[in-house]
Symmetry: C2
Amino acid sequence: MAYRQTDKVSARLADTRRSILDAARDLVSEGGFAAAQVSEVARRAGVATGTIYRYFSSKEELCRQIFREVSSQEMGLLATIASGDEPARTRLVKVLRTFAGRAVKGRRLAYALLAEPVDANLAEERAFFRRTHAEIFSRILEDGIEAGELPPMNAKIAAACIAGAIPTALIGPLAPQSQDLDKDPERIVDEIVAFCLAGVGVAQPDRKARKIERRATV
Amino acid sequence: MAYRQTDKVSARLADTRRSILDAARDLVSEGGFAAAQVSEVARRAGVATGTIYRYFSSKEELCRQIFREVSSQEMGLLATIASGDEPARTRLVKVLRTFAGRAVKGRRLAYALLAEPVDANLAEERAFFRRTHAEIFSRILEDGIEAGELPPMNAKIAAACIAGAIPTALIGPLAPQSQDLDKDPERIVDEIVAFCLAGVGVAQPDRKARKIERRATV
DNA sequence: TCAAGAAATGAACCATGGTTCACGCCCCCC
DNA sequence: GGGGGGCGTGAACCATGGTTCATTTCTTGA
């Protein structure tokens, strides 16, 4: 025996792994998963193509990691708001505004996570991500129905509608022009959230009330 | 000069073209665009692979044709309802129920048209399709707002929300189990349409009224 | 310093699936 | 019926992009 991994080395390995993940994530948030070609990731991370395969068994696994890292961060944010002890309607407004607001800010990334064409394996990961969204929405709705804050409805279906409406109205061919989104994102987010709230039977607050609630979100 | 295309020949050519298109469309509605590989289309149509290229300059063009044929049929259906002279709210209900109803019935095809990963060129075609949908919705909404049947809102954004909510709630990972959709499609369609109507400020009709309107849709 | 083994390398490899093309056949007109 | 095409064929070709692996370059303990 003449070689055993020392701390210094394993730290360097961890660094390399990290820099590969970072490179991949950057590429994804710039140009979607399509831009994250193995050789390009390697170039960015400053390693050889083959090196990627010492850290990830396949491109698919690398992409999956990226997906998990990014999406779990987003979901954590929403889950925290959702599990607060405020009234359901308040939590609902905050969650929707946060979801929409973050999608606007990180449009390219949101596109990659929610809408970009990906292959079957990544699609699974995405399905999980979206289902978690829907579950967060639907749990709040159920709370609200139980508490009499919201009218009775099929919460799962309403949640799916919300999870479809918000990204569609913000990303992709039905979204407003990108420049308009940058110019006045709040107005557009307001409008979309208003649609969803009305959809689940929340009477619209007037503009002044809206402004107050707005402060409470990311 | 010793050859000029005769009627018999051009009829045969048209037939072949048609059978290629049919084969491709069948494959798409069975397994999405992914299943429509050139060699497979050729096999189904009973011609050689190379023959496809005597009728279509590329696979992309073939797919585009399929897309147009199928989607223009769907859009025509909606456009007809939309341009009727009934009150905006009635037209809206009919259009939404038709859109949702057809998506449920032809789920695989709807998936291919609306959600399946496709490459950039087909994505353009899809964008057109979806924009047309949104335009149909938004025109009705504008009519309704103008007539005082609907509250003021940004019709374009609301239309995008609708165009996102309905497919998301019916197709893909957030849709109910396929067997549940088959068991009682109407109930689910009702629920989704109710969400969208509420979203644009239409007070919910009670169940009896709904049943009457239901008869009026495809 | 040296041997043993891990880590890194990147050019070659391979799988997939669209596209081409040299050839044979059929159709038209003289 | 013969010649000048267009039409049909399908095996070969090619482009893309992920994956491998023989080789080289560290690292480590003796």
